[in-house]
């Protein structure tokens, strides 16, 4: 079975690197499936769920904003966040969402704080989406 080399990097670390059969990413225009032999591509991704097909199994990750680059030798995903489904703490994420929503509603934050809270809210929501879908 043909495979492609997938590499997921965040500013903090190299989050994932392996030969995989395919990957589905949350693109700006909806979900985007990448299989081996895909044509060269450069696009943006949005916070959401990333699915990796490897060895007949599916691995899910929550990802933040970033970019996807497909080239003949490999697929690179650069994102602000990449967390394995198993490492997501649902309660912590729920709490973070509640706190962020409250902070945004109170409107006591400065401009840059709002940006910070908004982005962490999107990240937490993406984590929850990944976690919950799996349970049902």
């Amino acid at each position: 079975m043909p495979t492609l080399h997938l590499e997921i990097v965040t500013p903090e670390a190299l989050a994932y690197q392996a030969e995989v059969e395919g990957v589905i990413v949350p693109g700006v225009d909806g979900e985007l499936g990448i299989l081996p032999q895909h044509v060269g591509l450069m696009t943006q991704i949005v916070p959401g769920e990333l699915r990796i097909q490897q060895g007949g199994k599916e691995l899910r990750m929550a990802v933040g904003e970033g970019f996807l680059e497909v080239r003949p030798d490999r697929v690179s995903i650069m994102t602000e966040m990449a967390i394995d489904e198993a490492d997501i703490d649902e309660h912590a994420a729920e709490k973070a969402v509640a706190l962020a929503e409250k902070e945004l509603k109170d409107q006591t934050l400065s401009h840059e704080e709002v940006a910070l809270v908004q982005s962490s809210l999107l990240h937490s929501l993406a984590k929850l989406r990944v976690k919950r879908r799996h349970h049902h």
Binding site: G27, V28, D29, V39, G40, Q44, D73, A115
Partner: protein, 304 residues
């Protein structure tokens, strides 16, 4: 002859100082480890980003984007990275010496760190903004800084943005570097990948041979979704923000390393000083005992 009590007092004060420098050394050492890790952790990301920019190069008209287009340079903006606190050896001095060589009339400064800000104020340079950051800044905390510089560049207030910072080579060596960030010159993106012999502690083993591989792999077709322009509009500012973030982490790693080394030297000096002073103290004590004995024997002899 020196008074024994004075010497004792000096020994005590030097010992106290060495305790403080020892403590600072330990604190700096643990902070250094964290700062170095943070600086290293961003490298895979930065390499992939650079590779993407390099592969974009062939598909994009250079003049088509304001962040890529070279302009005649009338004004340069320099982001000056220094530490907030002193006691870190010659780190800030070296950076500020380089800063003082820049042309006063055509250079505007953005100071990150109090030492740089006070230097610019003292020497009457054109400082247009002054930021301070916590010890381990997050990407979103450095973003207002890079956003500010980006706006200055796009509005035409400056034609080039550089960053002047102490580059982390290794724990003992930090070298001031003045690097152009805007307009983004993609050719340089190759060179910004850390060279393999730059530092043993910061080396990244995983994709060391990839560069040569990339040169040969021709990418024929290349799609941009939704469009070239929108991807460029997203990735170019992003790479600038990230570059600034990465340099700030580098500065932090340099700062803590320099502080640890400086404090280690101070502790060692204090120890030597205590040794010398103890010797002197013992000599003085012996001398006074000898004198006393002499006086007693002389007195006895005179009586006898």
């Amino acid at each position: 002859m020196a008074n024994t009590r004075d010497i004792r007092r000096r020994i005590k004060s030097v010992k106290n100082t060495s305790q403080i420098t020892k403590a600072m050394e330990m604190v700096a050492a643990s902070k250094m480890r964290r700062a170095q890790q943070a600086a290293v952790a961003g490298r895979p990301y930065s390499e992939v980003l650079n590779e993407v920019l390099v592969s974009l190069r062939d598909h994009v008209d250079k003049e088509s984007h304001p962040l890529l287009a070279q302009r005649d340079v009338h004004k340069t903006l320099v982001i000056l990275l220094t530490s907030d606190k002193g006691l870190c050896g010659a780190l800030n001095t070296n950076v500020l010496r380089d800063a003082s060589l820049l042309d006063t009339s055509t250079t505007l400064f953005v100071a990150v760190g109090r030492k740089g800000a006070s230097f610019l104020a003292r020497t009457g340079r054109q400082m247009i903004a002054d930021f301070t950051l916590p010890d381990n800044p997050a990407f979103l905390q450095t973003k207002p800084i890079s956003q500010f510089c980006l706006e200055q560049f796009l509005s035409g207030a400056v034609d080039q943005v550089n960053i002047l910072y102490p580059k982390f080579i290794n724990t003992l060596v930090q070298r001031p570097v003045n690097l152009q960030l805007l307009p983004i010159s993609i050719e340089k993106a190759d060179g910004m990948v850390p060279s393999p012999n730059a530092s043993s502690s910061l080396e990244r083993p995983i994709t060391a041979e990839k560069d040569s591989e990339n040169e040969s792999s021709e990418i024929g077709e290349y799609l941009f979704e939704p469009s070239t322009q929108s991807v460029l509009n997203a990735i170019l500012p992003y790479s600038f923000h990230f570059e600034v973030f990465q340099k700030i982490l580098d500065e932090r790693a340099s700062e803590q390393s320099a502080r640890m080394v400086a404090m280690k030297a101070a502790t060692d000096n204090a120890k030597n000083l205590v040794k010398d002073l103890t010797l002197e103290y013992n000599k003085a004590r012996q001398a006074s005992i000898t004198t006393e004995l002499l006086e007693i024997t002389t007195a006895q002899m005179a009586l006898g």
